[in-house]
């Protein structure tokens, strides 16, 4: 089961911020650099890291990082 600890380095690299600490409740409003353009970088980084593909707009519907994690786990069949 993928967990927040595995997502954290990806977020830190994408948003260039080593201080990011993820919680299930974290949203784009909690990370200064997370906007619609950097979001695309996050999508690509997650796809490459986990070797999965997101459908267009699939991540936009998620409320927070917790739901993102659940979606990744579903795609990984975990």
């Amino acid at each position: 089961m993928t967990n927040l600890n595995e997502l954290e380095p990806i977020f830190r690299k994408v948003f260039d911020d080593d201080s990011i600490l993820l919680q299930r409740e974290t949203t784009s409003d909690d990370i200064e650099e997370w906007d619609s353009l950097t979001h695309m970088n996050l999508v690509v980084a997650l796809e490459l890291s986990f070797k999965i593909k997101f459908a267009l707009g699939e991540l936009q519907k998620l409320k927070n990082v917790g739901e993102m994690l659940d979606l990744i786990n579903r795609k990984l069949g975990k």
Partner: protein
């Protein structure tokens, strides 16, 4: 020139937007409803705006930053932005605002060029400045808005300083020529240029807020622009507050549902937003909009990129509202050409000149062209919000003025009824989501990556963004262009420059076309990308 907002020759923007409103009896009126991303509301009256900005003006004096010196805010959308902006103007400092997604290169260019003395920021953003601080000898003080205690002698706590500062400050009588607001803008060559405005700009910003946006005392206004850009200061701060009009400011990002909930529940009467945002709304499930009652919303205005006729049709059909396009630039400081409710809209046009503004279409030889002829959009110099220089770059400033005309760099034409129609840029600057991106800056940042030999960057048409950044890169032998490499390129640009400069497409090429003097021939790249004739390539390097 006399104006109803100028009393006793006081042109100070900070004072007119706060103290003068209190003097006019509006002290207890709501100036700003601040709405957090989680919809927590915080209200500020004009009296509070006045007192908090006075405190910041006193803080500047206490740390030794004086009139004519440069301070910046580098903040996400937050209340401190407004108090710092107005307070530093009261103290006659030059006040710059930095988009919170700027990376280190973008920060170094702006803070270094302006010799900034002080920056107001947050802890999480300060780490970017820390990495370059040894290259910023003039930067003496950093104020962090989210720490309780001072971290050192020169990294101070906003909360502590504000708690200790006096709320009384006498704004010096400020002449219209006094430098005021500083925004950096990108050109097709060289580093970004610091566009410096003056306190007298408030006359034009006030006039256009009345005459174009049509704001009335009882209005509730929402300008969605970030305060890091000129619309966010000219019309998200100065214009409405110089008229004593209440604004809402929302700290959250784009969300169709949240935005329409705000429009409805807060009772917004005039809304100023951007074509990209409107095009994103057009892509939403249209039934969403039927949930909301927008009967209080009188007008929607748009700025940043040309507004395509489809958006105007969508506004009418889906919202039952007209959307009015307006045009201006960082250099013009305020709206120059606009559509507004007292004019029939011509879909796709920029509108007609606002009062006091004389545009013309000039040929390359400087002659005024007749109606319907394509040429350079120019503005007769001397309007109130005209920029007064490019900081430390008088040559570039002078080059923008010829025979009494300011050359905007935009190409346009005028129809026989006086409506102006945008054609495109006369240079290579990319307008993506209303933000100007310099291809030169992106190309330079790409060359910082050790895998890349040469790069060329263009703007290509995009349905959502108006133009997207497309990068052509030639890699060193043996470097594979993998998806991981593409991600690295995107991250590098985001973190060195800004999220708005991220290439939406990266294309591997065997060489980047250059002329014989080594200049990148972006028009050739663009023509090839668009499948068009590349034209004259006689100067192409062999």
């Amino acid at each position: 020139m006399s104006s109803s907002i100028i009393r006793n020759s006081q042109h100070n923007i900070g004072f007119i937007c706060t103290g003068q409103q209190c003097d006019a009896g509006l002290g207890d009126k709501l100036a700003m409803r601040w709405i957090s991303p989680r919809f927590e509301r915080q209200d500020f009256t004009f009296s509070e705006l006045d007192r908090f900005s006075n405190k910041f003006a006193n803080i500047l004096q206490s740390v030794g930053v004086g009139a004519g010196e440069v301070i910046f805010t580098f903040l996400p959308k937050s209340t401190e932005h407004f108090f710092a902006f107005l307070g530093s103007l009261k103290a006659q400092c030059i006040t710059g605002t930095l988009f919170s997604n700027f990376g280190e290169d973008a920060l170094l260019d702006r803070l270094g060029d302006s010799k900034a003395r002080l920056v107001v920021t947050r802890k999480s953003l300060y780490r970017k400045i820390e990495r370059i601080r040894d290259q910023l000898p003039h930067l003496k003080t950093v104020i962090l808005t989210d720490v309780a205690e001072h971290s050192s002698d020169d990294v101070l706590s906003w909360n502590k300083l504000m708690a200790e500062a006096s709320e009384k400050f006498t704004t010096p009588c400020t002449a219209p020529e006094t430098p005021s607001v500083l925004h950096y803008t990108s050109g097709s060559t060289g580093k970004p240029k610091g566009v410096l405005h003056r306190h007298g700009s408030i006359l034009h910003q006030n006039r256009t807020t009345r005459e174009v946006l049509g704001l009335l005392p009882e209005d509730l206004f929402w300008c969605t622009a970030d305060q890091g850009w000129v619309t966010g200061t000219s019309y998200g701060i100065i214009g409405p507050w110089s008229l004593g009009v209440t604004q809402i400011h929302f700290a959250g990002g784009y969300s169709a549902h949240s935005w329409f909930e705000l429009l409805q529940n807060e009772g917004v009467t005039v809304w100023y937003t951007a074509p990209t945002a409107l095009r994103m709304l057009m892509r939403e499930e249209q039934s969403l909009f039927r949930e909301f009652d927008l009967s209080l919303l009188r007008c929607i205005f748009s700025v940043g990129e040309p507004l395509n006729p489809e958006v105007i049709s969508w506004g009418r059909e889906t919202l039952g509202k007209d959307v009015f396009d307006t045009w201006f630039q960082t250099e013009t400081g305020g709206i120059m050409i606009a559509n507004h409710p007292s004019l029939p809209i011509r879909s796709g046009s920029m509108g007609i000149p606002v009062s006091g503004i004389e545009p013309a279409i000039l040929g390359d030889d400087g002659t005024v062209l007749a109606d319907d002829m394509h040429g350079n959009l120019c503005i007769r110099e001397g309007w109130d919000s005209m920029f007064i220089t490019y900081l430390s770059n008088d040559t570039a400033y002078s080059s923008k003025f010829k025979k009494g005309w300011y050359h905007t760099g935009d190409m346009a034409w005028r129809d026989k009824d006086g409506y102006y129609w945008f054609l495109g840029r006369s240079d290579d600057v990319i307008n993506t989501s209303g933000h100007l991106v310099s291809p030169f800056e992106v190309e330079s940042a790409l060359l910082e990556l050790p895998e890349i030999v040469e790069s060329g960057v263009i703007g290509a048409p995009d349905e959502l963004l108006f133009e997207k950044v497309v990068a052509f890169v030639n890699f060193h032998p043996g470097v594979d262009f993998t998806p991981e490499m593409e991600l690295n390129i995107r991250l590098h640009i985001a973190n060195r420059l800004s999220s708005v400069a991220i290439p939406q497409e990266v294309i591997q090429v065997e060489s980047v076309p250059k002329n014989k003097s080594g200049k990148i021939m972006r028009r050739v790249l663009k023509a090839r990308y668009l499948g068009q004739d590349v034209g004259d390539i006689s100067t192409l390097e062999e």
